[in-house]
């Protein structure tokens, strides 16, 4: 590292002191330069839980199935066809002639090894939910495998087309997750040629990429640097040393868009939903606990001008949301009670609940300080005085599990899984994060989650969602969006699932 730095220093000195060393747009070198905001803990997609990791995962590896992000249609990727043999067994036919980046051929052994490894809890896959529905995989022949699920699991196809990607069996057995993190090997459209953990990744086009529904990569090289500060990212964009940045906050994106033809700014919705969670179950130490009173919860719902938040802060393709799930998710019925902005009514309800002068409560958040601040300002306006506390996610989560959080602003991204169970079932089934503990809701959600019948699922999700809204257990706020800013050399249309797809990028 030091030697490399010294070398570059010497090189730079040798080249010339006069040139300022700023490289201009790198279309000429066929290298796309992208910024990450977050340091990625491990490139091995099973051992990171961040959006950035998902982006790399989609570029470096392939899943068995592929969901078209625009049509939402499932297509074969490493598998060519699949079929439920019984409620809990899925049989897949694999694509032949696919090779990993290291030259190993892909076959059923790789699928079996991958699934059996990740499904084991001891393997320590970071996001257990992505894999723990699988029991085992078994080889039928070289290009046929069966995956058994633990329970009836209707969302299996969705998961197989998302987070579950296939690893080379021998290589992975040899190097393990940390080796995979440093020298990733997959079948994907791009292969990783350089990893400096947390700092830099360099991807190169996989010339031998199979005939995948992802399409063939066009740009030769992708260089990803971690730049934590958005300003610095924008500064680098200005100075021409970045070609694409994403997750740009709305205000900056707006300004960049206003700069005319210098940059292309695109906005896309994401599945992330922001919401207020209230201690309806009365687990916190507040006494009396106002949130146990439905009138107070309704008051909170009425107190906030969601439209103003969306119009002025989130902007773009964000929408006001009334459900504890993202509207496009399967089963996320939108026909529920809405609480339009009505501060007078909020005050009235508070008075009826016995709080004519409002009350004081702790208010937690872990991200989007400005949104939380704006929300707390609305709450203050109707008399709910907030003691605002911004915590690290893990700290807030810990408090949450202990049930010590009376009121919090949180978000949930559902891992881009287009199914209501990815959100509502996560929070209303009496888990440690359930702040409501409604038995009726639990019952309905159990039915919905464990059925393979779409109509029945819709019916029961709808029941649960209606009750949640009527009881005002949460105050769902809005959905998020993402801004992508590119320089004009780059051609790319982002998708709604907040995943950068290098394969669909090209030079103009």
């Amino acid at each position: 590292m030091k030697a490399a730095y010294l070398k570059t220093t010497a090189l730079a000195l040798a080249m010339s002191v006069a040139t300022t060393g700023i490289a201009l747009a790198d279309k000429a070198n066929d290298t796309l330069r992208v910024a990450y905001t977050k340091e990625l803990e491990n490139v091995d997609s099973y051992f990171n839980s961040s959006r950035e990791g998902v982006v790399l995962q989609r570029a470096v590896w392939d899943g068995l199935i592929y969901r078209d992000p625009i049509t939402n249609e499932y297509k074969g990727n490493l598998a060519t066809s699949w079929e439920w043999i019984d409620d809990k067994t899925l049989e897949l036919k694999l694509r032949e002639g696919v090779t990993f980046h290291n030259g190993d051929a892909f076959d059923a052994d790789d699928v079996v090894a991958t699934v059996n490894f990740v499904a084991k809890e001891e393997s320590g896959v970071k996001t257990q939910r992505n894999v723990n529905w699988m029991e085992t995989a078994e080889k039928v022949d070289d290009y046929t495998v069966r995956i058994k699920t633990k329970e009836v699991f209707p969302a299996a196809i969705e998961f197989l087309s998302g987070p579950v990607s296939m690893y080379p069996a021998e290589y992975y057995a040899e190097v393990g997750p940390s080796g995979m993190g440093l020298k990733p090997v997959g079948t994907g459209p791009y292969k990783v040629v350089e990893v400096i953990p947390g700092q830099k990744f360099v991807l190169e086009k996989n010339e031998n990429y199979h005939d995948s529904p992802k399409g063939q990569p066009s740009i030769g090289k992708v260089e990803i640097r971690t730049i934590p500060d958005v300003n610095t990212q924008i500064a680098e964009l200005f100075s021409g040393s970045l070609d694409l940045i994403w997750q740009v906050p709305a205000d900056q994106a707006e300004k960049l868009a206003a700069m005319g033809d210098q940059f292309v700014v695109t906005n896309e919705s994401t599945m992330r939903v922001g919401y207020l969670s209230m201690d309806a179950a009365g687990r916190s130490s507040m006494d009396p606990n106002p949130f146990q009173d439905i009138k107070v919860r309704q008051a909170v719902n009425y107190a906030i001008d969601r439209n103003a938040l969306v119009d002025n802060l989130l902007k773009g393709k964000s929408k006001v949301v009334w459900t504890p799930c993202f509207p496009s998710q399967f089963g996320c019925d939108q026909n529920v009670t809405e609480y339009p902005y009505d501060p007078a009514k909020a005050k009235e309800l508070l008075a009826e609940a016995g709080y004519p002068d409002g009350f004081e409560t702790e208010f937690y958040a872990y991200r989007d300080r400005d949104y939380a601040e704006a929300i707390s300002s609305y709450l203050n306006a109707v008399g709910i005085k907030t003691d605002f506390k911004m915590l690290q996610y893990s700290a807030l989560r810990e408090l949450n599990m202990k049930g010590e959080v009376p009121l919090s602003f949180q978000t949930w991204g559902s891992y881009s899984i287009n199914d209501a169970s990815a959100m509502v079932s996560q929070f209303f089934k009496h888990g440690s994060l359930d702040t409501t503990r409604d038995d009726q809701v639990l019952e309905w959600l159990d039915v919905a989650d464990q059925s393979n019948d779409p109509a029945k699922r819709i019916e029961y999700y709808s029941k649960a969602l209606t009750r949640i809204a009527d009881e005002a257990y949460w105050a769902p706020m809005f959905s998020y969006n993402t801004n992508y800013v590119m320089n004009t050399d780059v051609e790319y249309t982002p998708t709604a699932d907040e995943v950068l797809r290098f394969t669909t990028m090209s030079w103009k």
Binding site: V230, N231, I234, A235, F238, P249, D251, Q252, K255, D305, A308, L309, D311, N312, L313, R369, D370, A372, E373, A374, S376, S377, N380, F388, K389, M390, L391, Q392, A395
Partner: protein
């Protein structure tokens, strides 16, 4: 009874200026001190009178009028310094922010001052084992990376005004201890201390009435410097997102919040940054000035 005739010509000299007069004269001739103290005083008055002076409620948001430009950049007098990212009046937040900065600075300096002075004076006065322990503690404290430890603790306890003040107060006592120890050592060697001890004065009396008055000038200087230090550190913590929590208007937080739009609306960063700079500059000038005017032998 007079054994000696009063020697009058000799006493002409006693008409010389009293220490207080000398001090006044030095203060009057010290531009840095006057400027520094003046600015601090003005900001103090502003902080105290914030409810009267602020044109708007600093917490009142108006999402429809976000980041209105200040009047000198084409804004209106409705918001002379514009509004922030939630449409709150920037001038009002700046005025209330003075309260936060001065409060943090003074209370943190007070806490660390009490700790550091007690340790330093004890070490300097008693010497020996007490001194060894205090010196060791000072070394330990100096070896702890302040920003890192403060960040870690604030991250753990959650940022609130009280936590930030307490953390800074508990971390910044080193300079007090070092300087008070050195000053006490110096003063302790003076013969008037021996004289007071020989007279029979108790240890607390010797410390409070003979030593403290002679090191209090150094103490005041360190108080100002540490105040400035605490204000800057709070700003840095807030900037890194682990300081005072919103919606409390702290200047560091304002820089941090404005930072996102720095490239497009630089005034969001410049205004609180400049005010912060001026306050810290003024406190430092005041501290330097106090050191100059109270230095025992700096008769120019």
């Amino acid at each position: 009874m007079a054994l000696q005739e009063p020697i009058d010509p000799l006493l002409e000299e006693i008409s010389g200026p009293t220490p207080r007069q000398i001090l006044r004269k030095r203060v009057q001739g010290h531009m840095g001190l006057l400027f520094g103290a003046g600015v601090v005083l003005v900001l103090l008055v502003i902080a105290i009178l914030a409810p009267v002076l602020a044109p708007h409620d600093p917490y009142l948001q108006d999402l429809a009028n976000r980041m209105v430009k200040p009047v000198f950049m084409g804004g209106t007098w409705e918001h002379p310094l514009g509004t922030d990212h939630l449409g709150r009046d920037y001038l009002s937040r700046l005025i209330y922010g003075a309260r936060v900065s001065l409060l943090i600075g003074s209370v943190a300096a007070l806490i660390s001052g009490v700790i550091g002075t007690a340790m330093g004076v004890a070490a300097g006065y008693f010497g020996g084992r007490v001194d060894a322990v205090v010196t060791f503690l000072i070394n330990v404290r100096l070896a702890m990376p302040v920003v890192l430890v403060a960040l870690a603790v604030v991250a753990i306890l959650g940022g609130s005004l009280q936590v930030v003040i307490a953390v800074l107060g508990l971390l910044l006592w080193d300079r007090f201890a070092v300087v008070m120890r050195a000053s006490t050592l110096q003063v302790r060697r003076r013969e008037y201390v021996s004289a007071a001890q020989a007279i029979g004065a108790s240890t607390p009396r010797v410390i409070l009435s003979e030593i403290m008055p002679n090191i209090v000038n150094n103490l005041i200087v360190i108080v100002t410097l540490e105040m400035a230090h605490a204000i800057l550190l709070e700003a840095a913590l807030s900037f890194l997102g682990l300081g005072v929590q919103p919606p409390t208007p702290s200047w560091g937080l304002m820089v941090s919040e404005g930072k996102n739009m720095m490239l497009f609306e630089p005034w969001l960063v410049l205004i609180p940054g400049v005010v912060l700079f001026v306050l810290v500059l003024a406190i430092n000038l005041m501290g330097d000035g106090l050191r100059d005017v109270t230095a025992p032998d700096s008769r120019s």
